[in-house]
């Protein structure tokens, strides 16, 4: 199915309305130009690669005993910063909650919160991968039509 620009914008708008993304996502879109037309997608790809690493690091840190809450907070600070950079609002908010639990020395809270961080990240990844797939298909069709 060929998606129009309007339909793609609606899909994107829903991501904002449902709180998955904030304005920073738009800001990164605006950094694209003819020289870097896929900058947003490149950054998002890098973000998911980076957060995969941070998830592994967090899991390792959570296994340690006694808990090093300072280390956990530091990792989650990175996670939050990275999320903030691409406008991943729900992920960022869950990272903040995790850090609150770190400050309270609440390991159970951290564990529960970490599950939510992972869940929100997985949902966002799925939605953005679907969005970019449609965007790329749409652009590919547009290029083919222009070539005719």
């Amino acid at each position: 199915m060929e998606y129009s620009r309007r339909q793609l914008n609606n899909i994107k708008a829903n991501l904002f309305e449902q709180g998955y993304l904030d304005d920073q996502f738009h800001q990164i879109e605006e950094l694209q130009d003819d020289a870097s037309p896929n900058f947003l997608q490149e950054v998002v790809t890098l973000f998911f690669r980076d957060t995969t690493r941070l998830i592994d690091t967090t899991e390792q840190a959570l296994k340690k005993s006694p808990q090093d809450f300072r280390r956990l907070d530091s990792i989650m600070h990175q996670f939050k910063g990275s999320s903030s950079s691409i406008g991943a609002l729900r992920v960022k908010n869950e990272c903040s909650i995790f850090r609150d639990h770190c400050n309270q020395g609440n390991i159970e809270g951290c564990l529960k919160s970490f599950q939510k961080v992972k869940k929100e990240l997985a949902i966002l990844r799925q939605k953005l991968e679907a969005y970019f797939k449609l965007l790329n298909q749409s652009e590919s069709v547009a290029v083919k039509k222009a070539d005719r």
């Binding site: 939050k80 950079s85 691409i86």
Partner: protein, 142 residues
């Protein structure tokens, strides 16, 4: 977009960005380049000092350093202190950035950082950087 040179000299301001976070480094670099900064990025304070040393030997200039506050091993504050203790680098204006308004920012400003910005940077922050550049250039010319 901001003017593309300092005081009409036609020279692009060169900024060294120090941030251990790859995604944030990438976004900051792109934003600054679109505003006509010449940008070099490194991922640690150690690398920043090493590069500055190399540039000094090669008589290459940097007009400003934009460093993240929270970095492993050498924080933005530690880097700032090292820069201010160095006769070669103490004159380079330093701006601190952080994803949160941490208490450590006050001591950075006391140590000589000229500004503090919240990450991710916005267009208005880049405008402020230009203001600092022009102000610093005025001081150098006087």
């Amino acid at each position: 977009m901001a003017s593309s040179s300092i005081g009409g000299t036609g020279k692009l301001p060169h900024i060294l960005v120090v941030d251990d976070a790859l995604v944030q480094r990438m976004v900051t670099e792109r934003l600054l380049k679109l505003h006509s900064f010449k940008v070099t990025t490194v991922d640690s304070g150690d690398k920043a000092l090493e590069l500055l040393g190399t540039w000094t030997a090669a008589m290459k200039k940097v007009d400003m350093i934009l460093t993240d506050y929270s970095m492993p091993k050498m924080t933005g504050y530690d880097l700032l202190k090292r820069l201010k203790e160095s006769s070669a680098f103490q004159g380079i204006p330093v701006v601190i950035m952080s994803s949160e308004n941490t208490r450590g920012i006050t001591r950075c400003l006391e140590e000589g950082a000229i500004d503090f910005m919240i990450k991710p940077l916005q267009n208005s922050d880049v405008q402020r950087l230009y203001t600092h550049f022009n102000h610093h250039l005025q001081i150098k010319l006087e």
